[in-house]
Structure formats: structure tokens, C-alpha cells
Symmetry: D5
Subunit: 96 residues, 10 copies
Amino acid sequence: MLFKVEMDVNIPLGFDPQEAARLKAEEKARFQELQLAGTWRHIWRVVGQYANVSIFDVPSNAELHDILMSLPLYPFMTVRVTALCRHPSSAYEDDR
Amino acid sequence: MLFKVEMDVNIPLGFDPQEAARLKAEEKARFQELQLAGTWRHIWRVVGQYANVSIFDVPSNAELHDILMSLPLYPFMTVRVTALCRHPSSAYEDDR
Amino acid sequence: MLFKVEMDVNIPLGFDPQEAARLKAEEKARFQELQLAGTWRHIWRVVGQYANVSIFDVPSNAELHDILMSLPLYPFMTVRVTALCRHPSSAYEDDR
Amino acid sequence: MLFKVEMDVNIPLGFDPQEAARLKAEEKARFQELQLAGTWRHIWRVVGQYANVSIFDVPSNAELHDILMSLPLYPFMTVRVTALCRHPSSAYEDDR
Amino acid sequence: MLFKVEMDVNIPLGFDPQEAARLKAEEKARFQELQLAGTWRHIWRVVGQYANVSIFDVPSNAELHDILMSLPLYPFMTVRVTALCRHPSSAYEDDR
Amino acid sequence: MLFKVEMDVNIPLGFDPQEAARLKAEEKARFQELQLAGTWRHIWRVVGQYANVSIFDVPSNAELHDILMSLPLYPFMTVRVTALCRHPSSAYEDDR
Amino acid sequence: MLFKVEMDVNIPLGFDPQEAARLKAEEKARFQELQLAGTWRHIWRVVGQYANVSIFDVPSNAELHDILMSLPLYPFMTVRVTALCRHPSSAYEDDR
Amino acid sequence: MLFKVEMDVNIPLGFDPQEAARLKAEEKARFQELQLAGTWRHIWRVVGQYANVSIFDVPSNAELHDILMSLPLYPFMTVRVTALCRHPSSAYEDDR
Amino acid sequence: MLFKVEMDVNIPLGFDPQEAARLKAEEKARFQELQLAGTWRHIWRVVGQYANVSIFDVPSNAELHDILMSLPLYPFMTVRVTALCRHPSSAYEDDR
Amino acid sequence: MLFKVEMDVNIPLGFDPQEAARLKAEEKARFQELQLAGTWRHIWRVVGQYANVSIFDVPSNAELHDILMSLPLYPFMTVRVTALCRHPSSAYEDDR
């Protein structure tokens, strides 16, 4: 099942830069793991923001919840979740 | 260049159903033409709404404007445009 | 999978009362069918509003979309959908 | 009487983790006590948020107020309260 | 139980003045009936608006719902309901 | 003259509890003084919030301003003021 | 007593121009009557809007209400009322 | 040229009271200087808020900007600026 | 003096197309007249909207008001006006 | 390609003034570099705010993103990006 997830990241001024770098590296590793698994199907940056628009493909709401809550940068994120589904006009059966 | 475009469609109560059907068929045909051209890269329905989330890949802002303004259902749409770009964490060079 | 769906109904002043009564009867029948099937698990009225708060239990986002879009009163509704999941503190395994 | 209560929890970055764990354990114990008493009738997590949607069944506004204000995590919560009532279309007399 | 109810009235331009006058007279009669019964405890006009702030004292959420939905001017109102309770600082036991 | 005043109180996490208790006691004493004087005519708690809805009866805008600004908890409050007046439908001449 | 009143005027497309002209002339006459009486102390246009910012000086909330509700263009207005008072820093005792 | 300027002042809890008193005295002196010069034509307090509504009369946008940015309390203010102009209905040629 | 003016145009469905075309032609002619005079210094389309962002250079607020209110499409516009001034970092003395 | 970028700057009270001055000088230098390159085509101050309205002319969304994210004051900014395009009514072919 498909969801649009929009993540705005806000790391406070004065937060330890080394800790921030470590969390970003962990986030990137976790993202790539989920991307290769086909769960985190798309990610795009929002121009001018420390934010992304993502598409997730998950077997259930509960799994999406667990994935999002365990992201290394989650404590710094504002997250908006929107349930999506395939569009009948699409020429591609597996457009996800 | 990539853009997220969110379209909410609102056809007023009492609008002629045949005219609505004709416009929807035209919209679908135009969509598929743009999908096959690689311009309208993704489309998803928003659950519970007559609305979609789409990703466009266009050579310029002006071209995106011309495409959107000439959609058959544009007079019934509320449209939000957000400029996106490729995310550096992505494992796929051509993830669009 | 569980979703909170909030529906605000707005039938315009001057809408034909007989047609409104017919649509409300159809809506009620459709609701009861879905309630008995366990899909529309809960419904509550919002005090002072022509509106409800509902809990749906569906196998997929797509099925929820199809159910909502085909409700007889859908053209008069503003709908908000929120993905939910079971809470781990709950003492009831099947609390839905 | 039925109320929808939506609780968003925000524990600040840097809050003592042991104290947070203690408060969460207290919150869980208090929740289960109220759940077994039939007061806190339902609880669901909101996907991607540290938040829940709950249904309370209380004898009075004042009792709901006292319950909410004394929750161990209340100082970290944003709370929205909506008065509900039984829906006449429901097939279940005691649907709460 | 106490509720603050805020009602904004908007009768469209061009609505039949006689019908409007009839509905206002009915509304006034219904208000006074509820005021004398102690249900509609207070009403104040909002300066510069066709709107009021009211305090209701009702035995249940359901009764408040039924009262509001059957007001003669309800179809022209936007209504906001807020659950209240007695304030412990008040010197008056029965301040309602 | 009548005003609705809505006060939301927000004492920051970590504020000295003894100082908070002292300010609340002062606030309560000041409230009761104004209640007995007939100035602070009504106060109700908002369910689930550290907030109240109040009705003030004052000779002038300036006096209301001076009263509110000198409340012991004012520095922790968000305040909304709405000018009211007697409603002509009311059966009570002195309903304040 | 002083109030800021902000009035946005919206006469619908297609409203009879002669009737609109008549109402505007009545509004102007009523304004000037109130200006000369010292009640409508100031009026300024908002640049680019069919709107004004005004200062009223009235003996009571009720009088302000009656004045506003009887303005010839009131049915076309959105009105916002804010209670003001003299500023202690002002060098002018009678600055209104 | 006339502008409405609305200033909300928010001095954080715990800010040094002596420094606050010094800044307020400076602000008052600067205000009176501008009032006497005819630049800061009006100032009113907003009831229940640490805020004012002001009318400025300046030769240019740039001058207004320089005045506002150099106010001693500017770092504590939220400021909203609205361009105004004389209203043609006004009986006073020099109503500013 | 410089102002940012944002204009959203909304011509209702079913408005006479010939009249709309006439008004648009008049709007274009008026725009070009003001552009050549240096008053309407810049105009840009907002992608995906029937809307523009414009920069005006006018001698006074009043003149801007008169220009905007007399635009042929003004009755169909929502307009937002923001006062601007030259930025001191700019390398160009006459950057307008 | 053209974009409107609106930047609101908020340097917290108590931030080291020397560091702030250093960042502002760096920001100014970077701005002028981009202005001379024709990338940062326009900048205007918003009256009464520490904020600007700017027009960027960039070859791609990605380039705009990289420019904005690397501005020395970016960590203190709230940024809004709007895609623009040339307006067909403009008499100037190269109006940017």
C-alpha cells in the first residue's frame, strides 16, 4: 500500500555537529536499506527546505508507523502522512 | 526538472453529467499522452478525495505552466506546485 | 487496517427535500451493510454538527477509497482520512 | 457520554530518558486501569505521529476533565476534545 | 453539564424576507422556551456580528445535539461546541 | 459592559513548582475578589485544557485592560477578548 | 470607548449597479453623520482592497453593535471588532 | 503616507527586569519624539494584550522601515504593516 | 515607492466568454500602458495558477490604490499588497 | 528559470553579536556575488520586517536548492519558494 510521507527536518541551532553528522549518516543508511527493499520507493528534496517528499509502499499501516518512528532523525522531524492508491488512468499496472 | 503537483477537483453539484464525462475522458487522454512522453511521471489518487498527487518532469517552469493551464479539468481544479530535486541519498541515478 | 474518517455533510439550502431524503435513506442502508460486514466498525455523531467520526477496517487503501467515493452522500461531504494502527498499550488484542 | 480525545505528545529533546520512561510506564498503567473500567473505551495510534485518537465514555464533563488533567504525560500533551453522541443509523444499541 | 456554544448566522442575500422573519420569530420562541427551562442558561450577542455566545446546561451530549439540530435557524448557522465544567475557584456552588 | 475573555495558561516545564503554586494562589485570591465585586461575572473551565472561558462586566475597555494585565498569571496566558452585549431575545433584563 | 473596526466589503458580481450605488450613497451619508457626531472618529482605506480601517468612539458595546448592524452596506461586509484603550505613553490627553 | 502598524510585544519570561525597564523607557522616549514630529500619528493599546495599533504618516516606505527597525523594543516585536490611504467619504481634508 | 502586489484571478465558471475576453484585452492594454510608464515595473506568472506576482513603483499609497481598483479584472481578483523598499546590499543604485 | 524566494530571518535574542555580524557580512558578500552573476536578479526589503522578497534566475531546481541551502544565514531563515514564469503580456522579451 502506498503513502505519501512528507518530512521536514529541524535540527536546533547549537546541536552538537558531530552527533548531527552521526544521525544523518544513520538516516542515510536506513533510507538506503529501505529503498533497496522497495519500501521507501521514492524520495525527493523540496527546493529550499531541509525536507523531503517520499512515497512508501508497505504491507500495513502498522509497518509504516514502525518504520517512521524508528528513523534516526525522527525526533527532529515534522511528519505528514497521506494514504494514496493507484490511479485508474495510469497506463502502468505496477506504477508505484 | 521535477515538480510535485497536487490537484483537487471540484465539479459543482448540478453540472451537466455528459459534459463532465466528456471532460474527464479528455483529461484521461491528455494524461496518458503526457505519461507516455515521460512528462507526467507519476500519479496517485488521494484516498477519500477527488484529488491526485503527481510528479512532473519538465524542461522549464514555463512548460509546466502551459501543461497545467491547458488540462481539460483545470477550470475545476485547485492546484499546488512544489519544486523538487533529486535526493543525494538515493541509490538510483535516474530516480525520478 | 484501521482508518479514522471524519465526514462533514453539507446539503445546500434549497436542495430538493425528497431527493435529500432518498439519498439519506440510501446512505443509511449502505452504512448498515458496511457495519454488518465489519468494515465500518464505528460511527459517532459530532455534537451540534451534521458530521460524524468513523472508524473503518479495510484490507487496503484502495478499498477504502472505493467505499468512500461511492457513498450516496459523498458529493455533499468534506472527508478527512487519517491512518491509524493498534496501540500497544491496549489490553485487548482485537481492539478495533 | 462519549468524547473523542486526540492527544499529541511532545517530549522535548534532551529530556531525561529515565524520567520519560517512568512517566510512560505510569501513563500506560493509568490507561489500562481506565480501559478496564470502560472509561477509556478505545485508543488508536496515529500513523507516523507520537499521538493517539481515543474515545472516552464518562458520566460528566467534569470527570473527563479530571481524568485528562491527571494523566502522567499531560504536561507534554496537546489535547483536543470533541463531544460525540450515538449515531441513530447504528445497528448496535450499545455501540460505544 | 455545561457547554459553550457559539453560533454564527448567515442568511444569504436575496433570501425571502418574510420567510426569514418567520424563522427568526420561531427561533426566538424556541430560545425563550429553553431559557425558561434552564437549558439555554446564557446568551450574549457578539458586537458587530450576527452571532451569539451561549451557555447550555444539559443532561447529556445527545440532548444538546438534538436541541441544536432542531433550532429553526440551524440551517443558516455555523456552530462551535466546547465542553465546559465548573471552575473550582468559584465562590458560588451553583455558578452555571 | 460585557466581554468574553478566554485565557489559556501555559506554565513552562521546569518552572519552579513553589513559585507556580504561589502565583496560582494569588490568581485565585484576585479572581475571588473580582467575582465578589461582580466584575468577573462567570468563569468556566475548558474540558481537557488548562484554560477558562470568562465573562467580565466592566465600566470601560481601559478597566478591563488594567484588570487583565495585572493578573498574577498573566505572563503565562494567551488571552482573547471579545466584546459582547445583551441579547434582545433574553427574558431576563439583567442577564449578565 | 474606543474600538478598531475593520470592514471588508464584497458586493457580488451581477448585483444590480443602481441598487449598489444607492446603498453606497446611503452608507456615505450615514458615515458622515457619525463622523460629525464624533462617533466614527477615523476611517482609512486599505490599499488595493474594498475595505477600511476605522476607529469608533462609543459610550457602550451595545451602541457600537447597533451602529454597525444598521449600516446600509452591512449585509455585504465582513467585520472585525477589536477593543482598544488610550496608550499611557501618548502626549495627548484626548488622543482618540 | 499612512500606514497601520500593529505591534505585539513579547518579552520572554526571565528576561532581566532592569534591562526590560530600560528598553521600555527608551521606547517611550522614541515614541514621544516621533509623536511630536507627527510621524507616529496615533497609538492605541489593544485590550488584554501587550500590543498596540498605530498609525504612521511617513514620506516613504524606506523611512517607515528605518523607524520600525530601530525601535528599542523591535527585537521583541511581531509587526504587521498595512498600507492605507485617505478615505474619500471623510469630511476632513487632513484626516490622518 | 515599491510594492509587491500579488493578484489571483478567478473568473466564475459560466461567465460569458466574450465578456471575459474583452476584459482580458482591456487588462492587457492597461497593464502595458502602466508598464511603459514605469509604474508596473515587473510582472511574473505563478506556475500552475491564474495569478501573477508584480512589482509596482508609485509616488504614493493613494496612487497605487487608484490603479489597482480601476483594473478591468479587479472585480475578479484577490489582491495582496506588501510595502517594499530598496535593499542596502544591492550593488545597483536604481534596482527597482 | 525564475523563482520568487521569500526569506524571513530570525536571529535569536542573545545570539553572539560578533558571530551575527560575521554571518551577515558573509551573506552580503555571497548575495553580491550571485547578484553580479545574474542569478539573484532582484532583492527587496519587506517594510517593518527582517525579511526580503527576491527573484532568482537559475538553470535548474537543483541549483536553486544548492544556492539557498548554502547561504550563510540559511540556518536562521524561513524560506518560501514559488515557481514563476515570464508573463505573455509583458512588452519586454527579457523581463526577468
